[in-house]
Symmetry: C2
Subunit: 400 residues, 2 copies
């Protein structure tokens, strides 16, 4: 009738052994220290494409590691910078002389082996690993410019969050890079507000990379150990997994959930309601992943930094929450709220919830994702946000 | 080499069907509206034991439902109140005359069918359902007083969070009630800050109840539908599940995780770090549950309000976070921080992390729970909290 209190101790070692075998509950890191990595045939050259605050931060992380691990990496890291003038001087020159990105990451000292390069094609010359870290909307043009300048054995990691939804369906940005450039591409995503990582406050991230069929072998190609060596810092803890789809989906859909959080916070409903939105949101993210990317793993969403942790960080602040709160408090439209708060920038959730709605409508599945649908209806069809709880609950409230 | 974008639409209906079959990703509620519940042979009498702010709030919720569902419940709900004088008048008299618990839940109107009763034995007379909602430390005395006054067919729900850890192992509080009184006992837990629920701000909760072997049949005994009818309100959304162990473990261990969050927030490490602590904490909660209560389900922790949502709410505020922050900012001990901030009350995580440490030490398993162990070492052995990241990471940092 009840769970017996006694006798558990005797079961312990058996249960422990079982649990260690059970991957689902193990948080053990599988990547050993680089000290056990053999030296590469030739050290890898790394290029970072993008130099916004997150791009520059990741370039700093990577350049610190390449300098420390000459048996694995060429020390010099090129960072492609969209050239602009700051007080009449080129931004790239300022970065290379002052070792600071005065425009996008001020007051952060950059490693001297990080070289700003205004020439995209030159910056990728001889690169073995490309790290994409540019705004989503620039990706097509950059990738198009890179065509025929990147060999088939180059490997890439995309730090762009998310996916594109078109008539053909949901496409991961990493898959877009692969399709366009013919190179294997993984992703990096996590609970990583750039300014905090730049200041070397402790955080975690997830790198996902699927070992391709043309893998050339340990010591000759990019694998999970090498990616850990490239991105892991004492202040930036990295877990490397296979599930590119899982972390990309979580990275995109969290912004829709954050809008929902902003609505209930703006309505003054408090922490219980915000936590409920995050719970329902996590469930719908998992469902979306399982439905459209059955190869993604449920554990990615609740165990990885790119899953539940990034969701929590995003829902505790940031653009999407701010815009949604402002809508709730003032009754203004999403577009007006964006204009007033974001100075020409956009809250990604506003775009994503529309793309997701259109795709789910094509599949006749909007009813399976009541939170995503509710956020869409509130943003685009003026549905009152106080209806949110009823829209989430599947019409089974007690009649009263 | 990449996830193809095309062709997904054609797979959709197949995947959808599969996913609906897959319990892991389904968030569908299985309990129908009470309108489909048949009338009971005799309506159930409900008694709430406890009248603090959470006790009174739950009594309000329940009394609203008993009044609305006379085919299921006796309208009158007794609430046992530890009698005390307020300005010379008995608290029970004030509650019954003013319909307000002026001491523990001021400014909230209570239903008139909720009757404050200072006599414990009298309050449970004729009760079919007992709801325990008292401070943890009073449970043994209350239960001891109730012995021989509660029939074997009475059913109970415990709103107390957590478990007790002794030399014999980990015992759920619901199991303690069952063992001592010989009655089946479930639990209620969720992201429920009492004042917000009392004000009827929307929130969610989880009720867990395992149908006992001596179940007398639908319409004659407590089952999941009846529990939903008893607790669900338009502002308080209830999901009823079987997994009593899962929600109890999550309800206890979240307080240890909240201490970890308070440490990193107090150190000024920001949102990334707090999210990382919650991610690692959720993982250790799941591992603890699987190890010591293998019957608990992983989904409970990441899908239910009592799991991930309660963790998020607890880590965004409350006593444990406040005490830990104060320790980080002032360098004071946990005991001093408690004294200064909590006016004689205690932060539950301080007690729980010690109980958990002692139990894990008995099992020689402290190394399997690095976050729980780190929190214990910081609170009781003055280990510097800035070591937290290294203590969590399993000594596999890149050597540099």
């Amino acid at each position: 009738m009840s769970n017996s209190a006694a006798g558990r101790l005797n079961q312990t070692s058996h249960i422990l052994n079982e649990s260690i075998k059970n991957d689902d509950i193990s948080l053990r890191r599988s990547q050993p220290s680089t000290t056990s990595l053999q030296a590469l045939e030739h050290p890898f050259k790394v290029t970072v494409i993008g130099s916004g605050n997150w791009g520059t931060t990741i370039a700093k992380v990577v350049a610190e590691n390449t300098a420390l691990n000459p048996h694995l990496f060429v020390s010099r890291v090129d960072m492609w910078v969209f050239e602009e003038k700051i007080d009449g001087k080129n931004l790239t020159e300022i970065i290379n002389e002052q070792h600071e990105n005065v425009k996008y990451l001020p007051d952060i000292k950059l490693p001297e082996n990080l070289v700003a390069n205004p020439n995209l094609i030159d910056s990728v010359k001889g690169a073995d690993i490309l790290i994409f870290n540019i705004p989503h909307q620039f990706l097509p043009r950059i990738v198009s410019n890179l065509k025929n300048h990147v060999g088939p054995h180059v490997r890439a990691i995309s730090c762009l969050k998310g996916f594109e939804v078109g008539k053909k369906g949901v496409q991961l940005l990493s898959s877009y890079v692969t399709d366009e450039l013919g190179i294997q591409c993984g992703a990096l995503s996590g609970a990583n507000l750039a300014p905090e990582v730049a200041k070397e406050h402790w955080s975690e991230t997830t790198v996902a990379y699927h070992i391709p069929k043309d893998f050339r072998g340990e010591g000759k190609d990019v694998d999970h150990k090498l990616l850990k060596a490239l991105f892991h810092r004492p202040y930036f803890h990295v877990n490397v997994i296979e599930d590119v789809a899982g972390i990309s989906i979580a990275g995109a859909l969290k912004n829709v959930v954050a809008l929902g959080c902003g609505f209930v916070e703006g309505l003054g409903w408090g922490n219980n309601a915000a936590a409920a939105i995050q719970r329902v949101g996590l469930g719908e993210i998992i469902k979306f992943g399982q439905m459209f990317f059955p190869e993604s793993r449920v554990q990615t969403y609740y165990q990885e930094s790119a899953g539940v942790a990034d969701l929590i960080t995003t829902c505790s602040g940031g653009r999407n929450v701010r815009v949604a709160k402002h809508m709730a408090k003032t009754g203004k439209s999403a577009l007006d709220a964006e204009k007033e708060l974001l100075n020409g920038q956009s809250a990604q959730g506003i775009i994503t919830c529309k793309e997701v709605h259109e795709w789910l409508e094509t599949c006749e599945m909007t009813h399976e994702f009541p939170l995503f649908e509710a956020v869409y209806q509130i943003v685009y069809n003026n549905v009152p946000m106080k209806n949110l709880p009823d829209m989430i609950e599947e019409l089974e409230c007690i009649a009263d």
